[in-house]
């Protein structure tokens, strides 16, 4: 897919002005958060489970070569074929070659961010093969010609009117009824499932000890994709491998809860190769494509390695105050939200996505909800630091350098700091509007243009006692902050 991550500033501004998007995100955020919280609350010891999940991913990464070799052997024992792809191009060529060899004319797909990442749809349709996304959300955005805007709910930004208009192109009667639209999609896609020669899915987990390919879903489209066509191709990022079924149990209990609060989604498929002897459905051949595409580079970077622990649950998106304002498209690629902000710049050429790690307030909500405890804010800071230390980084403006230099000097000297803040408390009066400062004069106007700047408190923090309260002689001042 096209990479548009270098336009983040522009697309964020556009997103903020998009009323439909703001309404959709405003509704989705609180809903997803309460579902996730309720789901996690149904666990005995959620923190212990998160720790265990992190340990499972760490172990898998630390012995990744062994894990993948074992997975390969197990899949082969069950009659599956395993392909290795160093890059997106190589992965696409493998799938195309399989399609050609088996005379494939149409492909149905289950939702997969990995195939979005490598741009598989374009590669297939470029060779004259019909590709149908079958997850309802993906189906909608494929019709709209857009990329997904959320890992778990790709069409979260679309209103029912917009969906109705898109479906009208396929001959649907205009309607306001979401159940009617859903029935229409079922009918259209059911035909495509029955005709398709090849089904392509991602992989949620691949269990090394048993060769089990695990797929999660609510709709049933992934089951149809892996049941009806004669060929099933599963494309997995190599970090999806986990050691054992015990690890799977831990992650099964966390993934659904983190995404939508479900203890388990409607369907979990545990697949072992093609259909067995005497079976009348299921694929005749099964292919697993194991993808690197930049992942070994991340693996080789101890500071950033935990980026690879992500299980794509989307909890970090649901809780991110930035994502919930700008939506997924502003991130410009397959992965959005906090995980997108750290993963995209590492998978792509840095210059194409260097704004992403800055689209973060470092509030820490994502790290608190991550089921595998990825310290996302730490990763954002690490990436920012690298950009600042890079020899080719653009030099900041003279004014910025001057102000930051001055700020550093003042912070180093307590007396100067006290003097400066005393002056600031007096000097801020003309700019004060209620509990914020607005409209600084040039050349500082840009600082207040897009920020809600809080006034300096009449009682500074260092003048308070250890309990955070005002000291006795100033206790009458109600405006402590």
């Amino acid at each position: 897919m096209d990479v548009r991550s270098d336009r983040m500033r522009v697309s964020s501004r556009e997103a903020l002005l998009d009323e439909d998007l703001q309404r959709a995100l405003g509704k989705a955020g609180p809903l997803l958060q309460s579902m996730r919280n309720a789901g996690m609350a149904s666990l005995d010891r959620p923190e212990a489970l998160r720790e265990r999940a992190r340990a499972a991913k760490r172990e898998a990464m630390a012995r990744l070569d062994e894990m993948l070799s074992r997975l390969e052997a197990r899949v082969q024992e069950r009659g599956g074929q395993v392909h290795w792809a160093r890059s997106a191009d190589e992965a696409n060529r493998i799938v195309l070659e399989l399609a050609r060899k088996h005379g494939v004319r149409s492909v149905v797909k289950g939702k997969s961010m990995t195939t979005e990442e490598i741009g598989l749809n374009d590669a297939l349709s470029g060779s004259g093969i019909r590709v149908s996304e079958t997850d309802l959300g993906e189906f909608i955005i494929q019709l709209a010609g857009e990329p997904p805007s959320h890992i778990a709910a790709p069409a979260i930004h679309k209103t029912r009117q917009q969906v109705s208009e898109l479906f009208a192109r396929l001959g649907a009667e205009p309607t306001d009824s979401i159940p009617d639209m859903t029935r229409f999609a079922r009918r259209v896609l059911r035909e495509r499932f029955l005709e398709a020669d090849m089904g392509v899915t991602g992989v949620n987990f691949a269990v090394a000890s048993t060769g089990t390919i695990v797929l999660f879903e609510n709709e049933g489209n992934i089951r149809l994709t892996t049941t009806l066509p004669r060929i099933h191709v599963a494309v997995m990022g190599m970090e999806k491998v986990i050691p054992t079924l015990a690890d799977l149990d831990v992650l099964l209990r966390l993934l659904g809860r983190s995404a939508t609060g479900q203890k388990l989604p409607s369907y979990v498929s545990l697949l072992h190769g093609p259909r067995g002897g005497g079976e009348r459905d299921g694929p005749e051949t099964f292919h697993l494509v194991i993808l690197d595409n930049g992942r070994t580079r991340i693996l080789g970077d101890p500071e950033l390695r935990e980026t690879l622990h992500c299980i794509r649950c989307s909890a970090c998106l649901s809780f991110c105050p930035v994502y919930l304002r700008i939506g997924g498209h502003a991130y410009g690629w397959a992965y959005s939200g906090p995980i997108g902000s750290v993963l995209t710049p590492q998978l792509l050429d840095r210059g194409k996505a260097s704004d992403l790690p800055y689209a973060c307030t470092l509030c820490g909500a994502c790290a608190e909800v991550c089921p595998v405890m990825i310290d996302l804010p730490r990763l954002m800071v690490a990436l920012r630091r690298r950009y600042q230390e890079a020899p080719d980084r653009p030099r900041p403006a003279v004014l910025e350098r001057f102000c930051m230099g001055l700020y550093a000097r003042v912070l180093e000297r307590p007396a100067l700091y006290r003097l400066a803040s005393a002056l600031a408390r007096i000097g801020q009066a003309p700019f004060r509007r209620g509990d914020r400062l607005e409209h600084f004069p040039p050349p500082l106007e840009r600082w207040t243009a897009s920020r809600a700047v809080r006034p300096f408190s009449r009682l500074p923090f260092h003048a308070r006692d250890a309990g955070g309260r005002a000291q006795p002689e100033e206790a009458e001042d109600g405006r402590t902050r």
Partner: protein, 234 residues
């Protein structure tokens, strides 16, 4: 093979000295994950029913083999089913299913030509399942805490039966109720040391097919069955 070896070499060099450093010595404590103390059958049944009630899945208890059959016939009549597809396996045959159905006015869906006009055997079954009003399966296990059905694929145990028709009826024996996923993965179905014995497809079904993809409004039956009925032989 070049890509494979290259990729594994890249991984080993990326890990360097840190390779293997995170190995977890202690095996996962299945004992803790599995429910403890052992729960009574009545408790498991109650938990299963409770979980299903919030999942858009109906549970009907039947205390004899006869009652299972009557319950099924009743259900099919109530749902105005005319054609069905069914598993043919010992766990259903013991109740006389699906043999009892034709004489009561229900017809097995006919395998016709598929959409492309092919009429080989494999296309036949899925085209039959695609036109059936209901699919009838057994369930190898149930997971009480989540209201989950566990279905193994195999000869006479087609995946399409629980997937293509708009209504899915499953017959589950209460003696096969397990508390949760850990009891399933650690236990009876999966074998890590003999992975060739695992079924080609094991499906965990928890409630009916659903989506919230348009404005987060919950709709059932988007791709799979919108209605799920479980007959529980207690």
């Amino acid at each position: 093979m070049a890509a494979r070896d290259d990729l594994l070499r890249r991984i080993r060099s990326a890990l360097g000295d840190a390779r293997g450093g995170e190995h977890i010595e202690e095996p996962y404590d299945w004992g803790r994950a599995r429910s403890r103390p052992r729960r009574s059958p009545a408790d498991l049944i109650e938990a299963f029913e409770k979980a299903c009630s919030s999942l858009h899945a109906e549970v009907y208890k039947a205390d004899t083999d006869e009652a299972v059959r009557e319950q099924l016939l009743d259900l099919l009549k109530k749902e105005r089913i005319r054609t069905y597809v069914s598993w043919r396996c010992p766990s259903l045959e013991r109740f006389g299913i699906p043999e009892c159905l034709p004489s009561r006015g229900f017809h097995e869906a006919e395998a016709g030509a598929d959409a492309l006009g092919r009429e080989d055997g494999s296309a036949g079954f899925k085209s039959a399942a695609a036109v059936a009003d209901a699919g009838i399966t057994g369930a190898d296990f149930g997971l009480a805490d989540t209201g989950t059905l566990v279905l193994e694929s195999g000869p006479g145990r087609e995946r399409s039966v629980s997937l293509l028709p708009p209504i899915h009826v499953a017959v589950l024996c209460a003696e096969n109720l397990l508390p949760r996923t850990a009891d399933l993965l650690a236990g009876p179905l999966f074998s890590w040391n003999a992975p060739d014995r695992n079924a080609a497809c094991v499906t965990l079904i928890t409630g009916s097919s659903k989506t919230g993809d348009i404005e987060m409004e919950l709709v059932h039956g988007v791709h799979g069955p919108g209605r799920l009925h479980v007959i529980l032989r207690v």
